[in-house]
Amino acid sequence: MIGLEDLYREIILDHYRTPRNRGELETPPAQRVEGFNPLCGDEIIVYLQVDDSGVIDDVAIGGQGCSISQSSASMMSVAIKGRTIEDARKLIVAFKGLMSIHETEIGGDGSEAALGIELEGAAEDMKLGDLEALRGVVKFPIRIKCATLSWNTLAQALDEAAAA
């Protein structure tokens, strides 16, 4: 039987209670992108500051939402800080793989397959670290959108940062 302990792991609750990199960054130079989950009205704001060499030198998270969306955003901010845009993109693929969203199915419609599919290629060597704690979300399909909200928002912010 699937239990709530699979969802609400201690490390998730820790990031929910004490969110990392919470706040705002000055725009510009930072990018500011908002993401919405129309299902529940949750809202995430990702601030991303990328230096000349394409390294994310600062990140901040705003908005409000449930424990899963907030902790996912907090862990994401820790994971991408100091990484290159390219690595952050690989991390998105790796995280979506953890959420059983196959790379080829990541599209404009945000469709998500609830099937366990092996990751492939570029993202394989990315270490997810604490983010592994969110693995249990897959057993609660309705919450996958909560966990991926910040990551979809990040993807948009990376595109804007790369284009800037």
Binding site: Y8, L39, G41, D42, Q64, G65, S67, R143
Partner: protein, 409 residues
């Protein structure tokens, strides 16, 4: 108890377990469960009566047509319509509201004309007007909601000045607030405006008399009143329907078609293009019979009692931790209780409750402008119907304690 004690056993779906707990269904404002008699009536229609309606000359088709029109007559009587022809079948309340906007409002409103709605409307009574605003340049005015969850009518005269339509929910799907529809109708008419009512939460739970409400249009949906999904109703005064152009064009809605044009059918069929949802209408008719047998006065009494019990129990058990939105007086509200539990997000509350087999909705309930008034993104919502009893609410109060076990910081 004002309803039969064994009423739960009329609803086969309720007899199942989730996560090793008996299902406690507290999401009837979202959709209701269906009694066996409704399920049987629909199966019987397909087993014995199915044929296309209004066009076959054989006996089977005559029976199918009679089944559809019989259901319409039951609905007309249930809401005390003056005439059966005032009941238009649609897909749901949203379609009914769009029919009103696309047919009546598009024909009768011009740029600058005002439509007045309230801050507690469901998106179904907001978005069609936004669309009409974009299309025709109408003005949209909002009746504010006060902190007690009631409409603030202090500025109504000003809002209605020059308005063409007042369109308001009879019962809030978030707060449970019952709005003074008869009074609002009078004031709308005095200002020269027509009155539309979103009765999606009202008709399933209250004795409804469209004539006493004084409304010009009233919309509701079948699936919230024990009937299947896919059948809704637009009621309007016959002379209004007569003067309105058709909404969708096609078969069924015409008297004659030539290469030069068409002659629209009489009401209500003028608005029912294409093959209608006959089995769903039959299901709605049977649901109306079921509710009438219970007695809508008893349905209402049961809900007032249960709402009073819920408000009392939740407050006693969880004190300051729980905030229940909407009117505090059970007689002023329906059995729709939106609540916030501590600082725990409603999605997390609903997730923990699900683990105890309790189904509540979490989110913005298709009422985002109201969420802004409440100063939140989302609430948890427990909503009641005829099959709920006190034990369901005891289980809700118990299960909320489990939220503390996980989220008490």
């Amino acid at each position: 108890m004002t309803l039969p004690a064994a009423i739960k056993s009329d609803f086969p779906l309720l007899d199942q377990q989730f996560h090793d707990h008996q299902l406690v269904y507290l999401d009837s404002a979202n959709t209701s469960q269906k009694p066996q008699v409704v399920i049987d009536a629909m199966a019987d229609y397909y087993e014995n009566t199915n044929a296309n309606v209004h066009r076959g000359s054989y006996e089977l088709a005559v029976r199918a047509t009679a089944a559809l029109e019989g259901a319409r007559a039951k609905v007309a009587s249930f809401i005390n319509a003056k005439s059966v022809s005032e009941v238009v079948f649609t897909k749901n309340a949203t379609e009914s509201m769009n029919l009103l906007a696309r047919s009546w409002a598009e024909t009768n409103l011009r740029s600058g004309d005002a439509v007045v709605i309230s801050e507690m409307e469901h998106h179904a009574n907001i978005v069609p007007w936004h669309m009409l605003r974009a299309q025709k340049g109408i003005e949209l005015r909002w009746i504010p909601v006060d902190q007690s969850g009631h409409l603030d009518l202090s500025s109504l005269d000003r809002l209605l000045d020059g308005a063409k339509l007042l369109s308001v929910t009879a019962m809030s799907n978030v707060l449970g607030t019952l709005n003074p529809i008869a009074q609002l109708s009078e004031r709308a008419h005095a200002a020269g405006a027509l009155m539309a009512v979103d009765a999606s939460q009202y008709v399933p739970h209250m004795p409804t008399d469209v004539q006493a409400l004084g409304a010009d249009f009233l919309v509701f949906t079948g699936h919230k009143m024990l009937a299947p999904m896919g059948i809704g109703v637009l009621w309007a005064r016959a002379e209004l329907l007569d003067a309105m152009p058709p909404f969708l064009g096609g078969g069924e809605m015409i008297l004659n078609v030539t290469k030069d044009g068409f002659t629209a059918n009489e009401i209500p069929w003028k608005f029912e293009a294409g093959t209608p949802m006959v089995a769903e209408a039959v299901g709605l008719g049977r649901a109306v019979d079921y509710l009438s047998d219970l007695g809508m006065d008893n349905v209402r009494r049961h809900e007032v009692e249960l709402t009073a019990y819920a408000l009392r129990t939740l407050t006693e058990r969880h004190g300051d931790k729980i905030t229940i939105h909407g009117p505090t007086e059970p007689a002023e509200r329906g059995g729709v209780m939106s609540f916030i539990y501590g600082d725990v997000h409603p999605h997390d509350v609903a997730q923990v409750l699900d683990q105890s087999g309790i189904a509540v909705r979490a989110g913005h309930h298709c009422a985002k402008p109201l969420m802004d008034v409440l100063g939140t993104n989302a609430t948890s919502r427990a909503s009641l119907y005829v099959y709920n009893d006190k034990s369901d609410l005891d289980k809700l109060a118990d299960a909320l304690s489990a939220v503390d076990d996980i989220f008490s910081f």
